[in-house]
Amino acid sequence: MVVGEKCETGIKEIDVQMNGGIPVGSTVLVAGSSGSGKTTLCMQFLMHGARKGEKSVFFTITEPLFKLLGNLEKFEFFDKSLVDNGTVTIIDLRIIFERMGLDTEDYTVEDASALLDVLKDIAKELNAKRLVIDSVTALCYRLKSDEMIRDFIFKLGTFLAAMECTTFLTSEIPPRKFKYSKNDIEEFISDGILLLGDIERGGDLIRTLQIVKMRGVNHSRTKYAMNISSRGVELAPLLKMR
């Protein structure tokens, strides 16, 4: 983390809560169940930086590129020209796995180390200031021990922090379970946690977002109501049932 400097997310309420944004160089876990808005939030975060000229990288493991781009085109925040001119680079990690011969189920320590080096090289070469891995759950699935997962995320986070690159790692969790990650490890290594969830009200599901943790920032842990419209992710204070 770079003390004092903030990385604006582009989502007003988050930035206001954190006095201007996330501390630069932080690794933030964006945890949520399927359809909770993790990918949209992360891409909005990248696009906001890219509009200011910050280089960004989005690693996808869960969705093929054409599907991802197709889904993003409906959002006003998405500017394809920023992808075309290389300000935002979107990489399908599965292609890298294949090229490196890492398409096995279980990674050895050497495999994990080789993959880590590739991710670091890409971030360094592109001079990325914002980076997303969607999802860290799918990435860690191949790392078979807690130590390997911890080591991988810690080393990646440390390297990116030194580059002053702010990183979002999406974490897939089951709906309405009090968990931040599948392995219960990622949250301890991350500097911050944004938890996406939902609550039921009158038979309707209201999306929610909560800043659970953010090192170096005094922030509220109140839940926000979240909406995903053509404008992207928006928040408003959640009305409380009594």
Partner: protein, 193 residues
Amino acid sequence: MSTTLIDGLKERISTSISMYESVGLVLPGTNYTDLVQALFGCIKEHPQDAWIYITVTRPFESFVKMFGDLSRYPNVTFIDCISRASGIARNDEQCIYVESPTMLENVTMELNSIFAKIPEGSSKYVVLDSISTLMIYNEPSLVTEFFYQLLNKTRAEGIHTISLTVEEGETDKYINKLIYLNDKIIKVRDTFI
């Protein structure tokens, strides 16, 4: 429909909103249509002002039927909280559809988004139609919090609010509490003119 009643209502609303930031209108169900006519009279008379009409009572389509082509009122944008929940699927330039009247926070988000696009210097008005219908779909405590938030936000930003309450028999104690949060209350009676 009585033109005298509508004109009288229009005049009272116009005078009140020029003097007060939040105006509560309490009316019997039988006068609902007259009041809507009066409100649209106010909207038409001030084309330079920006209006947002939050409807929970009737779908947007019903306003189209009542007033015809709403492009004659380009200064009003609707937030329709009832159509989607009733299975009505339309797309209209002048209307934003919220999935359900229980999604009150989404109404706040849509309000913020619309007001962000309105140029500085325009007078801004929000019509909430109505508190009594919101109470049908939501817990009274939620509607209370929503209304407090709405009034606080609009007051802070110099936006005028007009909230409707349809009186049916004995008005609910929660609604009574909310009405009195307004700066001015107009109780519509058949004999009030």
